[in-house]
Symmetry: C2
Subunit: 321 residues, 2 copies
Amino acid sequence: MARLAGVSRATVSYVLNNTSAVRISEPTRRRVHEAAKELGYVPHAAARSLRAGHSRLVLMPAPSFPAGPLYSRFLGDLQLALGRLDYTVVQHGSIGLHGDEAARAWAELRPVAVLVSGSGLGPKGVTVLKRSGARAVVSLGPDSVEGAHALLMDYEAVGHSAGRHLYDRGRRRIGVVVPQECGLESFSAPRLEGVRRALHGTDATLTELPLAYTEESAARLAARWRDLGLDAVFAYNDEYAMLLMRALADEGVRVPADTAVIGADDLMLGRLLRPRLSTVHIELPSGRDLAELVDRAVRDPGTAPETHKVLGATVVHRESS
Amino acid sequence: MARLAGVSRATVSYVLNNTSAVRISEPTRRRVHEAAKELGYVPHAAARSLRAGHSRLVLMPAPSFPAGPLYSRFLGDLQLALGRLDYTVVQHGSIGLHGDEAARAWAELRPVAVLVSGSGLGPKGVTVLKRSGARAVVSLGPDSVEGAHALLMDYEAVGHSAGRHLYDRGRRRIGVVVPQECGLESFSAPRLEGVRRALHGTDATLTELPLAYTEESAARLAARWRDLGLDAVFAYNDEYAMLLMRALADEGVRVPADTAVIGADDLMLGRLLRPRLSTVHIELPSGRDLAELVDRAVRDPGTAPETHKVLGATVVHRESS
Protein backbone atom coordinates (compact mmCIF):
# COMPACT_ATOMS: atom_id res chain seq x y z
CA MET A 1 0.00 0.00 0.00
CA ALA A 2 2.95 2.31 0.82
CA ARG A 3 4.31 1.68 -2.67
CA LEU A 4 0.98 2.40 -4.36
CA ALA A 5 0.56 5.63 -2.40
CA GLY A 6 4.20 6.59 -2.86
CA VAL A 7 4.78 7.17 0.85
CA SER A 8 6.58 5.41 3.71
CA ARG A 9 5.03 2.51 5.60
CA ALA A 10 5.03 4.57 8.79
CA THR A 11 2.97 7.25 7.04
CA VAL A 12 0.42 4.67 5.92
CA SER A 13 0.09 3.47 9.49
CA TYR A 14 -0.27 7.01 10.87
CA VAL A 15 -2.96 7.88 8.34
CA LEU A 16 -4.99 4.70 8.70
CA ASN A 17 -4.85 4.84 12.48
CA ASN A 18 -5.76 8.50 12.38
CA THR A 19 -2.84 9.37 14.62
CA SER A 20 -3.04 13.00 15.63
CA ALA A 21 0.50 13.16 17.11
CA VAL A 22 2.05 13.31 13.63
CA ARG A 23 1.26 16.05 11.11
CA ILE A 24 0.50 14.72 7.66
CA SER A 25 -0.64 16.86 4.76
CA GLU A 26 -4.16 16.53 3.37
CA PRO A 27 -3.01 15.40 -0.14
CA THR A 28 -0.86 12.64 1.42
CA ARG A 29 -3.77 11.48 3.60
CA ARG A 30 -5.96 11.40 0.51
CA ARG A 31 -3.38 9.37 -1.46
CA VAL A 32 -3.15 6.81 1.35
CA HIS A 33 -6.94 6.53 1.64
CA GLU A 34 -7.27 6.09 -2.12
CA ALA A 35 -4.61 3.38 -2.16
CA ALA A 36 -6.32 1.68 0.78
CA LYS A 37 -9.61 1.73 -1.06
CA GLU A 38 -8.07 0.40 -4.24
CA LEU A 39 -6.51 -2.48 -2.33
CA GLY A 40 -9.74 -3.25 -0.53
CA TYR A 41 -8.22 -2.52 2.89
CA VAL A 42 -10.74 -2.58 5.73
CA PRO A 43 -9.64 -1.29 9.14
CA HIS A 44 -10.38 -3.57 12.07
CA ALA A 45 -12.75 -1.73 14.40
CA ALA A 46 -11.77 -4.00 17.27
CA ALA A 47 -8.04 -3.47 16.83
CA ARG A 48 -8.60 0.24 16.43
CA SER A 49 -10.58 0.47 19.63
CA LEU A 50 -7.95 -1.56 21.49
CA ARG A 51 -5.33 0.98 20.39
CA ALA A 52 -7.45 4.03 21.01
CA GLY A 53 -8.71 2.73 24.36
CA HIS A 54 -12.26 3.52 23.38
CA SER A 55 -14.50 3.05 20.41
CA ARG A 56 -17.17 5.05 18.60
CA LEU A 57 -19.56 2.20 19.17
CA VAL A 58 -22.96 3.04 20.65
CA LEU A 59 -25.19 0.21 21.71
CA MET A 60 -28.87 0.85 21.72
CA PRO A 61 -31.78 -1.47 22.33
CA ALA A 62 -33.30 -3.15 19.31
CA PRO A 63 -36.99 -2.31 19.07
CA SER A 64 -38.79 -5.07 20.93
CA PHE A 65 -41.52 -6.06 18.59
CA PRO A 66 -44.70 -5.55 20.54
CA ALA A 67 -43.55 -1.99 21.33
CA GLY A 68 -45.54 -0.43 18.49
CA PRO A 69 -44.79 1.81 15.54
CA LEU A 70 -44.35 5.03 17.54
CA TYR A 71 -41.50 3.76 19.71
CA SER A 72 -39.89 1.92 16.77
CA ARG A 73 -39.84 5.10 14.76
CA PHE A 74 -38.27 6.96 17.68
CA LEU A 75 -35.47 4.38 17.87
CA GLY A 76 -35.01 4.65 14.11
CA ASP A 77 -34.64 8.44 14.27
CA LEU A 78 -32.19 8.15 17.14
CA GLN A 79 -30.06 5.69 15.19
CA LEU A 80 -29.99 8.04 12.23
CA ALA A 81 -28.99 11.00 14.39
CA LEU A 82 -26.16 9.09 16.12
CA GLY A 83 -24.93 7.90 12.72
CA ARG A 84 -24.74 11.53 11.59
CA LEU A 85 -22.57 12.31 14.63
CA ASP A 86 -20.20 9.63 13.31
CA TYR A 87 -20.98 6.92 15.85
CA THR A 88 -21.22 3.31 14.78
CA VAL A 89 -24.66 2.41 16.02
CA VAL A 90 -25.41 -1.16 16.81
CA GLN A 91 -28.64 -2.50 18.15
CA HIS A 92 -28.38 -5.16 20.74
CA GLY A 93 -31.29 -7.36 21.62
CA SER A 94 -31.34 -8.49 25.22
CA ILE A 95 -32.95 -11.76 24.25
CA GLY A 96 -32.56 -14.31 27.00
CA LEU A 97 -30.51 -11.87 29.07
CA HIS A 98 -31.77 -9.55 31.74
CA GLY A 99 -30.48 -6.67 33.79
CA ASP A 100 -26.90 -6.95 34.92
CA GLU A 101 -26.31 -10.12 32.93
CA ALA A 102 -27.19 -8.23 29.74
CA ALA A 103 -24.84 -5.45 30.85
CA ARG A 104 -21.95 -7.92 30.97
CA ALA A 105 -22.71 -9.12 27.44
CA TRP A 106 -22.83 -5.55 26.19
CA ALA A 107 -19.62 -4.64 28.04
CA GLU A 108 -17.77 -7.28 26.02
CA LEU A 109 -18.21 -5.14 22.93
CA ARG A 110 -16.52 -2.20 24.69
CA PRO A 111 -19.04 0.42 23.60
CA VAL A 112 -18.38 4.08 24.28
CA ALA A 113 -22.03 4.60 25.16
CA VAL A 114 -24.96 2.36 25.97
CA LEU A 115 -28.63 3.22 25.83
CA VAL A 116 -30.86 0.88 27.75
CA SER A 117 -34.60 0.75 27.85
CA GLY A 118 -36.84 -0.11 30.70
CA SER A 119 -35.49 -3.56 31.49
CA GLY A 120 -34.13 -4.02 34.98
CA LEU A 121 -30.56 -2.74 34.58
CA GLY A 122 -29.28 -2.03 38.08
CA PRO A 123 -26.45 0.11 39.50
CA LYS A 124 -24.18 -2.96 39.32
CA GLY A 125 -24.75 -3.25 35.57
CA VAL A 126 -23.96 0.43 35.15
CA THR A 127 -20.70 -0.07 37.05
CA VAL A 128 -19.72 -3.04 34.87
CA LEU A 129 -20.35 -0.99 31.74
CA LYS A 130 -18.41 2.02 33.00
CA ARG A 131 -15.50 -0.10 34.17
CA SER A 132 -15.37 -1.57 30.65
CA GLY A 133 -14.95 1.85 29.14
CA ALA A 134 -18.48 3.09 28.50
CA ARG A 135 -18.36 6.84 28.97
CA ALA A 136 -22.11 7.24 29.02
CA VAL A 137 -24.92 4.98 30.13
CA VAL A 138 -28.37 6.41 29.43
CA SER A 139 -31.59 4.80 30.55
CA LEU A 140 -34.75 5.33 28.52
CA GLY A 141 -37.85 4.39 30.39
CA PRO A 142 -40.15 4.92 33.29
CA ASP A 143 -37.44 4.61 35.98
CA SER A 144 -33.97 6.02 36.54
CA VAL A 145 -30.94 3.89 37.47
CA GLU A 146 -28.23 4.99 39.90
CA GLY A 147 -25.13 6.19 38.09
CA ALA A 148 -26.80 6.51 34.67
CA HIS A 149 -28.26 9.46 32.87
CA ALA A 150 -32.02 9.08 32.73
CA LEU A 151 -34.51 10.06 30.10
CA LEU A 152 -37.64 9.47 32.10
CA MET A 153 -40.52 8.41 29.92
CA ASP A 154 -43.42 9.24 32.11
CA TYR A 155 -46.05 6.80 30.88
CA GLU A 156 -48.12 7.62 33.94
CA ALA A 157 -48.86 10.93 32.25
CA VAL A 158 -50.48 9.02 29.36
CA GLY A 159 -52.81 7.17 31.70
CA HIS A 160 -53.45 10.31 33.71
CA SER A 161 -54.53 12.27 30.62
CA ALA A 162 -56.81 9.46 29.47
CA GLY A 163 -58.40 9.00 32.91
CA ARG A 164 -58.90 12.73 33.37
CA HIS A 165 -60.47 13.03 29.92
CA LEU A 166 -62.98 10.22 30.54
CA TYR A 167 -63.86 11.69 33.93
CA ASP A 168 -64.35 15.15 32.40
CA ARG A 169 -66.68 13.60 29.81
CA GLY A 170 -68.90 12.54 32.72
CA ARG A 171 -67.88 8.88 32.86
CA ARG A 172 -67.63 7.25 36.30
CA ARG A 173 -67.17 3.47 35.79
CA ILE A 174 -63.90 3.32 33.97
CA GLY A 175 -62.14 0.22 32.62
CA VAL A 176 -58.41 0.09 31.81
CA VAL A 177 -57.11 -2.49 29.34
CA VAL A 178 -53.98 -4.30 30.57
CA PRO A 179 -52.30 -6.18 27.67
CA GLN A 180 -51.29 -9.75 28.44
CA GLU A 181 -48.36 -9.80 26.02
CA CYS A 182 -44.87 -10.22 27.48
CA GLY A 183 -42.64 -7.19 27.50
CA LEU A 184 -45.43 -4.65 27.76
CA GLU A 185 -45.63 -4.42 31.57
CA SER A 186 -43.16 -1.56 31.76
CA PHE A 187 -45.44 0.42 29.44
CA SER A 188 -48.80 -0.74 30.79
CA ALA A 189 -48.25 -0.65 34.57
CA PRO A 190 -47.52 3.09 34.66
CA ARG A 191 -50.46 3.82 32.32
CA LEU A 192 -52.76 2.00 34.72
CA GLU A 193 -51.22 3.84 37.67
CA GLY A 194 -51.78 7.15 35.87
CA VAL A 195 -55.49 6.47 35.46
CA ARG A 196 -55.66 5.48 39.14
CA ARG A 197 -54.03 8.78 40.09
CA ALA A 198 -56.42 10.76 37.88
CA LEU A 199 -59.44 9.14 39.55
CA HIS A 200 -58.07 9.25 43.09
CA GLY A 201 -60.42 11.01 45.49
CA THR A 202 -63.27 11.14 42.95
CA ASP A 203 -66.49 9.14 42.86
CA ALA A 204 -65.29 7.09 39.86
CA THR A 205 -64.32 3.42 39.95
CA LEU A 206 -61.47 1.75 38.07
CA THR A 207 -61.67 -1.82 36.69
CA GLU A 208 -58.61 -3.60 35.28
CA LEU A 209 -59.33 -5.47 32.04
CA PRO A 210 -56.72 -8.07 31.06
CA LEU A 211 -56.76 -8.48 27.27
CA ALA A 212 -54.60 -10.44 24.86
CA TYR A 213 -54.18 -9.10 21.31
CA THR A 214 -56.45 -11.74 19.74
CA GLU A 215 -60.01 -11.66 18.47
CA GLU A 216 -60.94 -14.49 20.86
CA SER A 217 -59.77 -12.61 23.92
CA ALA A 218 -61.59 -9.45 22.79
CA ALA A 219 -64.79 -11.41 22.10
CA ARG A 220 -64.68 -12.95 25.59
CA LEU A 221 -64.23 -9.55 27.18
CA ALA A 222 -67.02 -7.99 25.07
CA ALA A 223 -69.39 -10.88 25.93
CA ARG A 224 -69.33 -9.91 29.62
CA TRP A 225 -69.32 -6.16 28.95
CA ARG A 226 -72.88 -5.51 30.16
CA ASP A 227 -72.18 -7.37 33.42
CA LEU A 228 -69.12 -5.23 33.98
CA GLY A 229 -71.32 -2.14 33.86
CA LEU A 230 -68.57 0.13 32.53
CA ASP A 231 -69.33 3.42 30.79
CA ALA A 232 -65.80 4.10 29.58
CA VAL A 233 -62.52 2.36 28.76
CA PHE A 234 -58.93 3.40 28.26
CA ALA A 235 -57.80 0.71 25.83
CA TYR A 236 -53.99 0.93 26.42
CA ASN A 237 -53.28 2.05 22.85
CA ASP A 238 -54.96 2.55 19.47
CA GLU A 239 -54.39 -1.02 18.29
CA TYR A 240 -56.00 -2.59 21.35
CA ALA A 241 -58.75 0.04 21.05
CA MET A 242 -59.51 -1.03 17.48
CA LEU A 243 -59.62 -4.68 18.52
CA LEU A 244 -61.94 -3.94 21.44
CA MET A 245 -64.22 -1.56 19.47
CA ARG A 246 -64.78 -4.25 16.84
CA ALA A 247 -65.70 -6.80 19.52
CA LEU A 248 -68.01 -4.31 21.27
CA ALA A 249 -69.74 -3.50 17.95
CA ASP A 250 -70.32 -7.23 17.40
CA GLU A 251 -72.01 -7.37 20.84
CA GLY A 252 -74.20 -4.35 20.03
CA VAL A 253 -72.46 -2.07 22.55
CA ARG A 254 -72.65 1.49 21.17
CA VAL A 255 -69.54 3.70 21.19
CA PRO A 256 -69.62 6.33 22.66
CA ALA A 257 -73.31 6.22 23.73
CA ASP A 258 -72.95 3.16 25.98
CA THR A 259 -69.18 3.16 26.44
CA ALA A 260 -66.64 5.85 25.67
CA VAL A 261 -63.33 4.55 24.27
CA ILE A 262 -59.94 6.24 24.20
CA GLY A 263 -56.65 4.79 22.91
CA ALA A 264 -53.11 6.13 22.87
CA ASP A 265 -50.32 6.72 20.30
CA ASP A 266 -52.38 8.74 17.79
CA LEU A 267 -51.85 6.28 14.94
CA MET A 268 -53.44 6.97 11.57
CA LEU A 269 -55.49 3.84 12.19
CA GLY A 270 -57.58 5.72 14.77
CA ARG A 271 -58.60 8.44 12.30
CA LEU A 272 -59.71 5.75 9.84
CA LEU A 273 -62.07 4.09 12.35
CA ARG A 274 -65.77 5.00 12.63
CA PRO A 275 -66.50 6.46 15.13
CA ARG A 276 -63.12 8.19 14.92
CA LEU A 277 -61.00 7.11 17.86
CA SER A 278 -60.09 9.53 20.64
CA THR A 279 -56.48 9.04 21.65
CA VAL A 280 -53.59 10.30 23.73
CA HIS A 281 -50.95 11.81 21.49
CA ILE A 282 -47.51 10.94 22.86
CA GLU A 283 -44.60 13.26 22.19
CA LEU A 284 -41.29 11.40 22.38
CA PRO A 285 -38.00 13.31 22.48
CA SER A 286 -36.47 13.95 19.08
CA GLY A 287 -33.76 11.51 18.04
CA ARG A 288 -31.48 14.47 17.37
CA ASP A 289 -31.80 15.93 20.87
CA LEU A 290 -31.14 12.57 22.43
CA ALA A 291 -28.14 11.91 20.15
CA GLU A 292 -26.68 15.25 21.23
CA LEU A 293 -27.13 14.35 24.88
CA VAL A 294 -25.26 11.10 24.27
CA ASP A 295 -22.49 12.95 22.45
CA ARG A 296 -22.12 15.50 25.29
CA ALA A 297 -21.94 12.70 27.84
CA VAL A 298 -19.26 10.87 25.81
CA ARG A 299 -17.14 14.00 25.49
CA ASP A 300 -17.44 14.81 29.18
CA PRO A 301 -17.83 11.53 31.05
CA GLY A 302 -17.20 13.21 34.41
CA THR A 303 -20.50 15.10 34.65
CA ALA A 304 -23.05 14.00 37.21
CA PRO A 305 -25.93 11.91 35.83
CA GLU A 306 -28.69 14.09 34.42
CA THR A 307 -32.38 13.33 34.55
CA HIS A 308 -34.74 14.68 31.91
CA LYS A 309 -38.48 14.15 31.72
CA VAL A 310 -39.09 13.58 28.06
CA LEU A 311 -42.61 12.54 27.35
CA GLY A 312 -45.53 14.76 26.46
CA ALA A 313 -49.10 13.50 26.59
CA THR A 314 -52.03 15.35 25.02
CA VAL A 315 -55.58 14.12 24.54
CA VAL A 316 -56.87 14.24 20.96
CA HIS A 317 -60.65 14.25 21.34
CA ARG A 318 -62.52 12.68 18.40
CA GLU A 319 -65.85 10.82 18.24
CA SER A 320 -65.38 7.71 20.38
CA SER A 321 -65.43 9.44 23.80
CA MET B 1 -7.93 -13.18 40.31
CA ALA B 2 -5.37 -16.03 40.39
CA ARG B 3 -5.13 -15.58 44.16
CA LEU B 4 -8.89 -15.62 44.65
CA ALA B 5 -9.26 -18.76 42.53
CA GLY B 6 -6.19 -20.40 44.10
CA VAL B 7 -4.54 -21.14 40.74
CA SER B 8 -1.63 -19.82 38.69
CA ARG B 9 -1.88 -16.72 36.53
CA ALA B 10 -1.24 -18.82 33.44
CA THR B 11 -4.21 -21.02 34.31
CA VAL B 12 -6.46 -17.97 34.64
CA SER B 13 -5.36 -16.82 31.22
CA TYR B 14 -5.92 -20.26 29.66
CA VAL B 15 -9.41 -20.53 31.14
CA LEU B 16 -10.58 -17.03 30.29
CA ASN B 17 -9.23 -17.26 26.76
CA ASN B 18 -10.82 -20.68 26.38
CA THR B 19 -7.55 -22.16 25.16
CA SER B 20 -8.06 -25.69 23.99
CA ALA B 21 -4.35 -26.57 23.74
CA VAL B 22 -4.06 -26.93 27.53
CA ARG B 23 -6.13 -29.43 29.53
CA ILE B 24 -7.70 -27.88 32.61
CA SER B 25 -10.11 -29.72 34.91
CA GLU B 26 -13.75 -28.67 35.10
CA PRO B 27 -13.61 -27.70 38.83
CA THR B 28 -10.61 -25.45 38.16
CA ARG B 29 -12.36 -23.83 35.22
CA ARG B 30 -15.39 -23.24 37.41
CA ARG B 31 -13.27 -21.70 40.19
CA VAL B 32 -11.66 -19.31 37.74
CA HIS B 33 -15.02 -18.30 36.23
CA GLU B 34 -16.48 -17.72 39.71
CA ALA B 35 -13.52 -15.58 40.72
CA ALA B 36 -13.82 -13.65 37.44
CA LYS B 37 -17.48 -13.01 38.11
CA GLU B 38 -16.86 -11.91 41.67
CA LEU B 39 -14.22 -9.45 40.53
CA GLY B 40 -16.51 -8.09 37.80
CA TYR B 41 -14.14 -9.21 35.00
CA VAL B 42 -15.56 -8.72 31.53
CA PRO B 43 -13.72 -10.30 28.59
CA HIS B 44 -13.04 -8.01 25.67
CA ALA B 45 -14.89 -9.40 22.66
CA ALA B 46 -12.61 -7.48 20.32
CA ALA B 47 -9.42 -8.77 21.90
CA ARG B 48 -10.82 -12.27 21.98
CA SER B 49 -11.74 -12.18 18.30
CA LEU B 50 -8.29 -10.81 17.42
CA ARG B 51 -6.73 -13.78 19.18
CA ALA B 52 -9.16 -16.37 17.86
CA GLY B 53 -9.01 -14.96 14.34
CA HIS B 54 -12.78 -14.93 14.13
CA SER B 55 -15.70 -13.87 16.24
CA ARG B 56 -19.18 -15.20 17.04
CA LEU B 57 -20.60 -11.92 15.81
CA VAL B 58 -23.45 -12.09 13.33
CA LEU B 59 -24.59 -8.88 11.71
CA MET B 60 -28.13 -8.73 10.50
CA PRO B 61 -30.13 -5.87 9.07
CA ALA B 62 -32.12 -3.78 11.51
CA PRO B 63 -35.78 -3.82 10.53
CA SER B 64 -36.28 -0.83 8.29
CA PHE B 65 -39.33 0.81 9.69
CA PRO B 66 -41.77 0.92 6.84
CA ALA B 67 -41.23 -2.83 6.34
CA GLY B 68 -44.28 -3.81 8.37
CA PRO B 69 -44.98 -6.07 11.32
CA LEU B 70 -44.63 -9.38 9.46
CA TYR B 71 -41.05 -8.82 8.33
CA SER B 72 -40.10 -7.25 11.66
CA ARG B 73 -41.35 -10.29 13.52
CA PHE B 74 -39.37 -12.55 11.18
CA LEU B 75 -36.18 -10.62 11.94
CA GLY B 76 -36.99 -10.85 15.65
CA ASP B 77 -37.41 -14.63 15.50
CA LEU B 78 -34.18 -14.98 13.57
CA GLN B 79 -32.30 -12.95 16.15
CA LEU B 80 -33.67 -15.15 18.92
CA ALA B 81 -32.70 -18.35 17.10
CA LEU B 82 -29.14 -17.15 16.41
CA GLY B 83 -28.80 -16.12 20.05
CA ARG B 84 -29.76 -19.65 21.09
CA LEU B 85 -26.96 -20.99 18.85
CA ASP B 86 -24.62 -18.84 20.94
CA TYR B 87 -23.97 -16.12 18.38
CA THR B 88 -23.77 -12.52 19.42
CA VAL B 89 -26.35 -10.93 17.20
CA VAL B 90 -26.05 -7.32 16.33
CA GLN B 91 -28.33 -5.38 14.09
CA HIS B 92 -26.66 -2.93 11.80
CA GLY B 93 -28.62 -0.19 10.15
CA SER B 94 -27.30 0.79 6.75
CA ILE B 95 -28.38 4.36 7.25
CA GLY B 96 -26.64 6.67 4.81
CA LEU B 97 -24.63 3.77 3.41
CA HIS B 98 -25.45 1.65 0.41
CA GLY B 99 -24.24 -1.53 -1.17
CA ASP B 100 -20.50 -2.04 -1.13
CA GLU B 101 -19.89 1.02 1.04
CA ALA B 102 -22.11 -0.53 3.71
CA ALA B 103 -20.19 -3.78 3.32
CA ARG B 104 -16.93 -1.99 4.18
CA ALA B 105 -18.50 -0.52 7.33
CA TRP B 106 -19.77 -3.93 8.37
CA ALA B 107 -16.42 -5.57 7.61
CA GLU B 108 -14.78 -3.32 10.20
CA LEU B 109 -16.61 -5.18 12.93
CA ARG B 110 -15.12 -8.50 11.69
CA PRO B 111 -18.36 -10.48 11.83
CA VAL B 112 -18.31 -14.22 11.29
CA ALA B 113 -21.52 -13.98 9.29
CA VAL B 114 -23.50 -11.20 7.67
CA LEU B 115 -27.12 -11.26 6.61
CA VAL B 116 -28.08 -8.57 4.16
CA SER B 117 -31.47 -7.63 2.91
CA GLY B 118 -32.51 -6.38 -0.46
CA SER B 119 -30.29 -3.37 -0.78
CA GLY B 120 -27.81 -3.37 -3.56
CA LEU B 121 -24.90 -5.36 -2.11
CA GLY B 122 -22.75 -6.46 -5.06
CA PRO B 123 -20.15 -9.21 -5.56
CA LYS B 124 -17.45 -6.69 -4.59
CA GLY B 125 -19.08 -6.14 -1.20
CA VAL B 126 -19.28 -9.89 -0.67
CA THR B 127 -15.56 -10.16 -1.41
CA VAL B 128 -14.71 -7.38 1.04
CA LEU B 129 -16.70 -9.13 3.75
CA LYS B 130 -15.16 -12.51 3.08
CA ARG B 131 -11.64 -11.13 2.95
CA SER B 132 -12.31 -9.58 6.37
CA GLY B 133 -13.12 -12.95 7.83
CA ALA B 134 -16.85 -13.38 7.29
CA ARG B 135 -17.41 -17.08 6.77
CA ALA B 136 -20.96 -16.67 5.53
CA VAL B 137 -22.73 -13.92 3.64
CA VAL B 138 -26.43 -14.56 3.18
CA SER B 139 -28.71 -12.35 1.16
CA LEU B 140 -32.39 -12.11 2.07
CA GLY B 141 -34.47 -10.62 -0.65
CA PRO B 142 -35.81 -10.75 -4.15
CA ASP B 143 -32.39 -11.12 -5.84
CA SER B 144 -29.31 -13.27 -5.31
CA VAL B 145 -25.75 -11.88 -5.17
CA GLU B 146 -22.72 -13.62 -6.66
CA GLY B 147 -20.67 -15.38 -4.00
CA ALA B 148 -23.34 -15.20 -1.30
CA HIS B 149 -25.91 -17.70 -0.14
CA ALA B 150 -29.34 -16.53 -1.18
CA LEU B 151 -32.69 -16.84 0.50
CA LEU B 152 -34.83 -15.71 -2.37
CA MET B 153 -37.96 -13.96 -1.21
CA ASP B 154 -40.15 -14.21 -4.20
CA TYR B 155 -42.43 -11.21 -3.78
CA GLU B 156 -43.58 -11.70 -7.36
CA ALA B 157 -45.50 -14.71 -6.07
CA VAL B 158 -47.47 -12.40 -3.78
CA GLY B 159 -48.53 -10.18 -6.66
CA HIS B 160 -49.14 -13.18 -8.88
CA SER B 161 -51.53 -14.75 -6.33
CA ALA B 162 -53.41 -11.49 -5.88
CA GLY B 163 -53.71 -10.85 -9.63
CA ARG B 164 -54.80 -14.37 -10.33
CA HIS B 165 -57.43 -14.24 -7.56
CA LEU B 166 -58.95 -10.98 -8.82
CA TYR B 167 -59.03 -12.35 -12.37
CA ASP B 168 -60.68 -15.58 -11.17
CA ARG B 169 -63.30 -13.48 -9.38
CA GLY B 170 -64.25 -12.08 -12.80
CA ARG B 171 -62.51 -8.71 -12.51
CA ARG B 172 -60.86 -7.30 -15.63
CA ARG B 173 -59.80 -3.71 -14.90
CA ILE B 174 -57.29 -4.17 -12.14
CA GLY B 175 -55.42 -1.45 -10.23
CA VAL B 176 -52.20 -2.08 -8.29
CA VAL B 177 -51.20 0.25 -5.45
CA VAL B 178 -47.55 1.32 -5.59
CA PRO B 179 -46.48 2.90 -2.26
CA GLN B 180 -44.58 6.16 -2.56
CA GLU B 181 -42.60 5.67 0.66
CA CYS B 182 -38.82 5.28 0.39
CA GLY B 183 -37.38 1.85 0.95
CA LEU B 184 -40.43 -0.05 -0.26
CA GLU B 185 -39.45 -0.37 -3.94
CA SER B 186 -37.72 -3.69 -3.44
CA PHE B 187 -40.97 -5.06 -2.03
CA SER B 188 -43.42 -3.27 -4.32
CA ALA B 189 -41.76 -3.60 -7.73
CA PRO B 190 -41.86 -7.42 -7.70
CA ARG B 191 -45.46 -7.43 -6.44
CA LEU B 192 -46.46 -5.24 -9.36
CA GLU B 193 -44.50 -7.47 -11.73
CA GLY B 194 -46.28 -10.52 -10.32
CA VAL B 195 -49.70 -9.06 -11.06
CA ARG B 196 -48.50 -8.18 -14.54
CA ARG B 197 -47.39 -11.77 -15.08
CA ALA B 198 -50.70 -13.14 -13.80
CA LEU B 199 -52.65 -10.99 -16.25
CA HIS B 200 -50.30 -11.51 -19.19
CA GLY B 201 -52.10 -12.83 -22.25
CA THR B 202 -55.56 -12.27 -20.73
CA ASP B 203 -58.15 -9.63 -21.58
CA ALA B 204 -57.53 -7.77 -18.30
CA THR B 205 -55.84 -4.38 -17.97
CA LEU B 206 -53.44 -3.27 -15.24
CA THR B 207 -53.30 0.30 -13.88
CA GLU B 208 -50.52 1.45 -11.53
CA LEU B 209 -51.81 3.54 -8.62
CA PRO B 210 -49.14 5.56 -6.79
CA LEU B 211 -50.28 6.11 -3.19
CA ALA B 212 -48.61 7.66 -0.15
CA TYR B 213 -49.60 6.38 3.28
CA THR B 214 -51.64 9.48 4.16
CA GLU B 215 -55.36 10.21 4.27
CA GLU B 216 -54.88 13.08 1.81
CA SER B 217 -53.23 10.89 -0.81
CA ALA B 218 -55.94 8.23 -0.40
CA ALA B 219 -58.71 10.85 -0.67
CA ARG B 220 -57.19 12.21 -3.90
CA LEU B 221 -57.00 8.73 -5.38
CA ALA B 222 -60.57 7.88 -4.31
CA ALA B 223 -61.90 11.15 -5.77
CA ARG B 224 -60.89 10.08 -9.27
CA TRP B 225 -61.89 6.43 -8.75
CA ARG B 226 -64.95 6.49 -11.01
CA ASP B 227 -62.91 8.05 -13.85
CA LEU B 228 -60.34 5.29 -13.51
CA GLY B 229 -63.06 2.73 -14.18
CA LEU B 230 -61.39 -0.01 -12.12
CA ASP B 231 -63.34 -3.00 -10.82
CA ALA B 232 -60.57 -4.37 -8.58
CA VAL B 233 -57.44 -3.32 -6.75
CA PHE B 234 -54.47 -5.09 -5.18
CA ALA B 235 -53.60 -2.60 -2.44
CA TYR B 236 -49.95 -3.64 -1.84
CA ASN B 237 -50.63 -4.76 1.76
CA ASP B 238 -53.34 -4.76 4.42
CA GLU B 239 -52.44 -1.37 5.84
CA TYR B 240 -52.65 0.39 2.48
CA ALA B 241 -55.84 -1.59 1.83
CA MET B 242 -57.44 -0.26 5.01
CA LEU B 243 -56.44 3.30 4.11
CA LEU B 244 -57.84 2.97 0.60
CA MET B 245 -61.05 1.19 1.67
CA ARG B 246 -61.83 4.04 4.08
CA ALA B 247 -61.32 6.63 1.35
CA LEU B 248 -63.43 4.61 -1.12
CA ALA B 249 -66.23 4.30 1.48
CA ASP B 250 -66.18 8.09 1.93
CA GLU B 251 -66.66 8.46 -1.86
CA GLY B 252 -69.56 5.98 -1.86
CA VAL B 253 -67.64 3.31 -3.78
CA ARG B 254 -68.98 -0.08 -2.63
CA VAL B 255 -66.56 -2.91 -1.79
CA PRO B 256 -66.71 -5.50 -3.27
CA ALA B 257 -69.80 -4.66 -5.43
CA ASP B 258 -68.11 -1.81 -7.37
CA THR B 259 -64.49 -2.62 -6.63
CA ALA B 260 -62.93 -5.76 -5.19
CA VAL B 261 -60.03 -5.13 -2.80
CA ILE B 262 -57.27 -7.48 -1.74
CA GLY B 263 -54.32 -6.73 0.55
CA ALA B 264 -51.32 -8.79 1.66
CA ASP B 265 -49.68 -9.86 4.93
CA ASP B 266 -52.77 -11.30 6.61
CA LEU B 267 -52.64 -8.90 9.57
CA MET B 268 -55.31 -9.15 12.25
CA LEU B 269 -56.37 -5.68 11.10
CA GLY B 270 -57.91 -7.17 7.96
CA ARG B 271 -60.18 -9.51 9.88
CA LEU B 272 -61.39 -6.57 11.97
CA LEU B 273 -62.46 -4.54 8.91
CA ARG B 274 -66.01 -4.68 7.46
CA PRO B 275 -66.22 -6.02 4.82
CA ARG B 276 -63.50 -8.41 6.03
CA LEU B 277 -60.40 -7.90 3.93
CA SER B 278 -59.20 -10.57 1.48
CA THR B 279 -55.45 -10.87 1.67
CA VAL B 280 -52.38 -12.79 0.55
CA HIS B 281 -50.94 -14.74 3.45
CA ILE B 282 -47.16 -14.67 3.24
CA GLU B 283 -45.16 -17.52 4.71
CA LEU B 284 -41.65 -16.43 5.64
CA PRO B 285 -38.98 -18.99 6.51
CA SER B 286 -38.77 -19.82 10.22
CA GLY B 287 -36.09 -17.98 12.14
CA ARG B 288 -34.81 -21.32 13.38
CA ASP B 289 -34.32 -22.80 9.91
CA LEU B 290 -32.50 -19.71 8.75
CA ALA B 291 -30.31 -19.63 11.88
CA GLU B 292 -29.33 -23.23 11.21
CA LEU B 293 -28.41 -22.42 7.63
CA VAL B 294 -26.16 -19.60 8.90
CA ASP B 295 -24.58 -21.93 11.43
CA ARG B 296 -23.89 -24.60 8.79
CA ALA B 297 -22.32 -22.01 6.51
CA VAL B 298 -20.10 -20.72 9.33
CA ARG B 299 -18.89 -24.23 10.20
CA ASP B 300 -18.19 -25.08 6.60
CA PRO B 301 -17.26 -21.88 4.79
CA GLY B 302 -15.99 -23.78 1.75
CA THR B 303 -19.38 -24.91 0.45
CA ALA B 304 -20.69 -23.42 -2.76
CA PRO B 305 -23.34 -20.70 -2.30
CA GLU B 306 -26.80 -22.20 -1.91
CA THR B 307 -30.01 -20.68 -3.16
CA HIS B 308 -33.32 -21.38 -1.44
CA LYS B 309 -36.73 -20.06 -2.41
CA VAL B 310 -38.30 -19.24 0.88
CA LEU B 311 -41.57 -17.44 0.46
CA GLY B 312 -44.99 -18.96 0.33
CA ALA B 313 -48.01 -16.95 -0.87
CA THR B 314 -51.60 -18.12 -0.36
CA VAL B 315 -54.78 -16.13 -0.96
CA VAL B 316 -57.12 -15.85 2.04
CA HIS B 317 -60.50 -15.07 0.50
CA ARG B 318 -62.82 -13.05 2.75
CA GLU B 319 -65.55 -10.52 1.93
CA SER B 320 -63.80 -7.66 0.15
CA SER B 321 -63.15 -9.45 -3.16
